[in-house]
Structure formats: structure tokens, C-alpha cells
């Protein structure tokens, strides 16, 4: 079982959340070339180590947020706290 530190609901079983995958900045639609969209849509770093990723707390606060997790050991680093705007997605 993976305990995910939701910033609003505290530690939750990962089955209570939806995994959103790697978090990357979206290209600017006004200027982005097709190859940039290709990279954003499909290409992944997929590191064996620390990764910034998005989660959706679907059976709790129902908010998206980003967390840092080590994909080799599954430990979370420095999770955002409630009211902390750092991890929140607008």
C-alpha cells in the first residue's frame, strides 16, 4: 500500500486517489510547435528517483496537487501543507 500525503486530507491510501503522472509545464498554445506538443503529450522522463507528479484526491478533498516522490523507493519528500499554494493547481 502506498500512503499518499494529501495536503488537505492527510495520509491516504493511493487507491483513494487518482494518479496523474509526471508534471510538466504546458507549452504556450500561441507559439508552440507540433514537436513541442508531441513532447508534452507523449514523452516522459520516467526517472528511477525523485519525480514531480500530479495526484487527484478523488474520494477526499477532490483537488489536484503536485507531490515529489522517489520512484525507486516510493517515499514522498516535503509534501505541501493545507493552505500552502505551492502544490495547488489553479
Amino acid at each position: 500500500m502506498l500512503l499518499v500525503p494529501c495536503p488537505n486530507c492527510g495520509p491516504r491510501n493511493s487507491a483513494d486517489l487518482r494518479y496523474g503522472g509526471e508534471s510538466h509545464a504546458r507549452p504556450d498554445p500561441a507559439t508552440a510547435a507540433p514537436l513541442q506538443w508531441r513532447g508534452y503529450l507523449y514523452l516522459r522522463d520516467n526517472p528511477a528517483g525523485w519525480l514531480r507528479e500530479t495526484w487527484y484526491c478523488r474520494s477526499g478533498c477532490r483537488r489536484w496537487f503536485t507531490l515529489e516522490r522517489n520512484t525507486a523507493t516510493n517515499e514522498f519528500r516535503d509534501p505541501p501543507q493545507p493552505g500552502d499554494k505551492r502544490g495547488a493547481k489553479a
Binding site: M1, L2, N13, A15, N46, N74
Partner: protein, 436 residues
């Protein structure tokens, strides 16, 4: 011995009933099946990953193209990854014409493998049932059956009564939460002993002169002329690999590392559309043989087969969270047991013997990524997700052809990395997401 171009070193001991009896009576040891040699400084091609894909690639490089100065490198032991962790199911009943043609060729190679490699791979052609629990699933089954028939692959949709005849232990009544409405029946499907396939390819490749180097970890891929750091990346070419046992120079590097594919490709400056997810599987204690076919339920995320020893082997969908950790979870066993009992209530008293997991390199369209990359001499045979074992022979054959001739064979052209640039994805989710 078939026409082997050059490099033929020695005849391996023939595996037959006669040699078994003779050696048993004499009481002497069997010779080592493959050599343990020193790492040379230079090879014509280096295959990274000593699983069934890497070994098949090396075997076909030697057998079909006469390239015997080849090294297969593995950071652990041969077949230590997904090759020994999969649920050993083979089939060709895919959804897209490209997929069906490709996997059908693989099934043909599996059919002749025991003779080709002189090893008993225990191919049991027992038929394959993909259950449908909803109208939508039934529609996909009809779709797959028609695509299969058009390609000459034996598949048909059957109803609950016929399912009961094929596999009587399935609950085909309307009592379950997800009643069985029909199934895609694919008689050529079956199971193969996966370890024997690994050993067979390794043994055959070894006697043609290919070197297998275990406990040899690739630390970096050496490139020149690319647009990234250290000459890596698009426009460059491969010059060698750096391992924990020293540097090797080679013009061709083939990445067959499944779950670790993204890490190896990053060493050449190539980003892949791949994320690594674990897939968990489990096996029960052995009982009398009662399940004659492979049973798959996409809706219930489970596939079941009974081994010749009598154990039930269960597999599931990949875990949702991307990770390189292969720890098992209790949720998996609970969910699995619930789903299996929904299909076969009669096995409720059986006990699980063990569970394990392996890493899957998942692509967005559930099709592999095969062939050339923007780095000259760096080929990939990756993105094998949950369907790598059944495709190993054909992948080895086709990637070997690409590496030896420098041209992409027609059969794997749809699976090129460049399909993500052009948007020509090969959507196999309907037949591969949980379909084993």
C-alpha cells in the same frame, strides 16, 4: 544443424531422451549451457538486456544475418526481469491489422521453436477465451474476431453455452455482478514455459558465438555528433557503451531493457513515450487439472491459466502508480481473489502460494516502440508493457533484421518511435490493456 553463417564454435549437447538416459546412467555432469567469457573491447553489436527479447535479437543476428561478434549485457542474470515474471500466455487475437499480423508471426515462431532451438519449451496450444461482461465488450470482441479472420487468424465469438463446454468451471449463469455474455475464442493461443525460451535462445546464440555477459551493468552510452551534452541526442551516432567492467566500442547498440528502457535510452539522449509500472501476478497451490484453456476478463482485470503442474496462475492489470519498486500489495490479492471468485466460485477454498511483480514499460497506445531512433546506431525494442513475452521471437527476428540491414522491416514499420511525431498511433488498448 541448419545453415549457420560463420562463427559456429561447437555443437551443444543434443537434448533428447537418448542423451538423457545415457548421461543419467553414466552419472556425469551436463556441460555448461553457455560460456562465461571475458568482455572484449569491441563488438559489431551490443544488446542491452539479457531477457527473452535481447537474447532472441542476438540469436537472430547470428542465425539470419551471420553477425556473431555480438554481446548481450545484463546487469543481473539472464531472464531475471519480466522474462521470468510474466504469465507465459501467447496469442495473436489483437485489434489492429498491424498488431494481428505481427503477433501472428510470433505465434508461428513459437510453434516451431522447440525444433529450432532443440529445447522443450512446453508450448501448450490450449485455446484462449476473452470474456465479455457488457455489450460494449461484446462489440469489441466481434470487432477483434472480424479483424482476426480477415488476417487468417482463428478467432470467433461464442456464447455462454459454448463457453460452458470449453471451460465448465466458469460461472456462466446470470447470478454474478458481471455475468458472462460471451467470449472471443482463439484456439491457437496457449502457454509456453518462459524460462525454457530464455535458456533456449541463450544456448543457441552461445553456440553460434554470441557472448552473454551477466552482472554487467551499462553505466553510459557513448555517442558523438549529437545535439545534446557529450555528443548525445538527435543527429549523433553511437560509438560504444561504458559498463562496470570497462568500455566497449560498437557501432550498434540495441535497447531491450523493458521496464528500464527509459533510463537506458536517456543515456543516448533519446526520450521515450514510456512510463514504468509494476504488474503483479500470483500462483496457487497445485490441484488436479480442471481448467483446459486460458481465461481472460478485461472488465474484471484478471487472466487465469492452469499450469501442467496444476497451479492456477493469475495476472492482473498494471498498478496505476508509476514506480520502479516491485513490492507486492495486499489490495492486489484482495481484488484478485474477489474477481477470480466472481468467475469461478468453485476455487474459493484454494490457497495462494505466492505473489510477485515485474516492471512493465507502458506506452500511450499499448503498442511497442521498435526500430531506429534519432541517434544513428541506437535501436530500441521497448514499450513492451504487458505483452512482451508473446512477441519475443518476432521482435528479435525483426529488430535483428533492422540492425543488420539498416532498413526497417515492413512488419515493425507501424511501431516506429516517429509515429508519435506524426500522430499515427497504433491503438491496441482494446486488446492489450488487460488482455493476456
Amino acid at each position: 544443424m541448419r545453415g549457420i553463417a560463420g562463427g559456429m564454435r561447437r555443437r551443444p549437447p543434443k537434448y533428447s531422451a537418448a542423451t538423457l538416459a545415457w548421461r543419467g546412467l553414466k552419472g556425469d555432469y551436463w556441460p555448461r549451457v553457455w560460456r562465461d567469457t571475458d568482455l572484449k573491447r569491441s563488438y559489431d553489436a551490443v544488446v542491452i538486456g539479457g531477457g527473452v527479447h535481447g537474447l532472441a535479437t542476438a540469436y537472430y543476428l547470428a542465425r539470419n544475418h551471420g553477425m556473431t561478434n555480438v554481446a548481450v549485457l545484463d546487469k543481473a542474470y539472464l531472464g531475471s526481469g519480466a522474462s521470468g515474471r510474466n504469465t507465459a500466455i501467447v496469442r495473436a487475437n489483437y485489434l489492429t491489422p498491424e498488431g494481428v499480423a505481427f503477433y501472428d508471426r510470433s505465434l508461428q515462431l513459437y510453434n516451431s521453436m522447440a525444433l529450432d532451438l532443440n529445447i522443450n519449451v512446453m508450448f501448450s496450444e490450449r485455446g484462449h477465451l476473452t470474456l465479455a461482461h457488457s455489450d460494449a465488450a461484446l462489440r469489441t470482441m466481434h470487432w477483434r474476431a472480424e479483424v482476426n479472420k480477415l488476417q487468417g487468424v482463428n478467432s470467433s465469438v461464442i456464447g455462454p453455452d459454448e463457453i460452458k463446454e470449453v471451460a465448465s468451471s466458469l460461472d456462466t449463469s446470470d447470478h454474478p455482478r458481471y455475468p458472462i455474455l460471451g467470449a472471443l475464442y482463439h484456439p491457437p493461443g496457449g502457454i509456453v514455459r518462459h524460462d525454457a525460451v530464455v535458456w533456449g535462445y541463450a544456448r543457441a546464440a552461445d553456440h553460434m558465438g554470441v557472448e552473454m555477459h551477466q552482472k554487467t551493468e551499462v553505466l553510459d552510452i557513448l555517442c558523438t555528433g549529437g545535439d545534446g551534452a557529450d555528443g548525445k541526442g538527435a543527429g549523433g551516432r553511437v560509438t560504444g557503451v561504458r559498463t562496470n567492467r570497462g568500455d566497449i566500442s560498437t557501432p550498434i547498440v540495441i535497447n531491450c531493457t523493458a521496464g528500464w528502457a527509459g533510463l537506458i535510452s536517456a543515456m543516448a539522449g533519446v526520450r521515450l513515450p514510456i512510463t514504468t509500472h509494476p504488474l503483479q501476478a500470483a500462483v496457487t497451490e497445485p490441484v488436479k487439472v480442471f481448467l483446459p484453456t486460458v481465461v481472460v476478463s478485461g472488465s474484471l482485470h484478471v487472466y487465469i491459466s492452469q499450469t501442467d503442474r496444476g497451479e492456477l496462475v493469475f495476472g492482473a492489470a498494471v498498478d496505476a502508480v508509476a514506480t520502479y519498486s516491485i513490492r507486492g500489495s495486499l489490495e492486489f490479492t484482495e481484488e484478485l481473489a474477489g474477481h477470480v471468485l466472481e468467475l469461478m466460485p468453485s476455487v474459493s477454498r484454494m490457497r495462494l502460494l505466492r505473489q510477485w511483480s515485474g516492471l512493465c514499460d507502458m506506452t500511450p497506445d499499448y503498442s511497442p516502440v521498435m526500430g531506429f531512433t534519432p541517434v544513428d546506431g541506437f535501436l530500441v525494442d521497448v514499450g513492451w508493457g504487458t505483452y512482451g513475452f508473446k512477441a519475443a521471437p518476432v521482435s528479435g527476428e525483426q529488430i535483428a533484421e533492422a540492425a543488420a540491414t539498416g532498413r526497417t522491416p515492413e512488419l515493425i514499420a507501424p511501431f516506429a518511435l516517429s509515429r508519435f511525431d506524426t500522430g499515427e498511433l497504433v491503438g491496441e488498448k482494446g486488446a492489450a490493456a488487460v488482455g493476456h
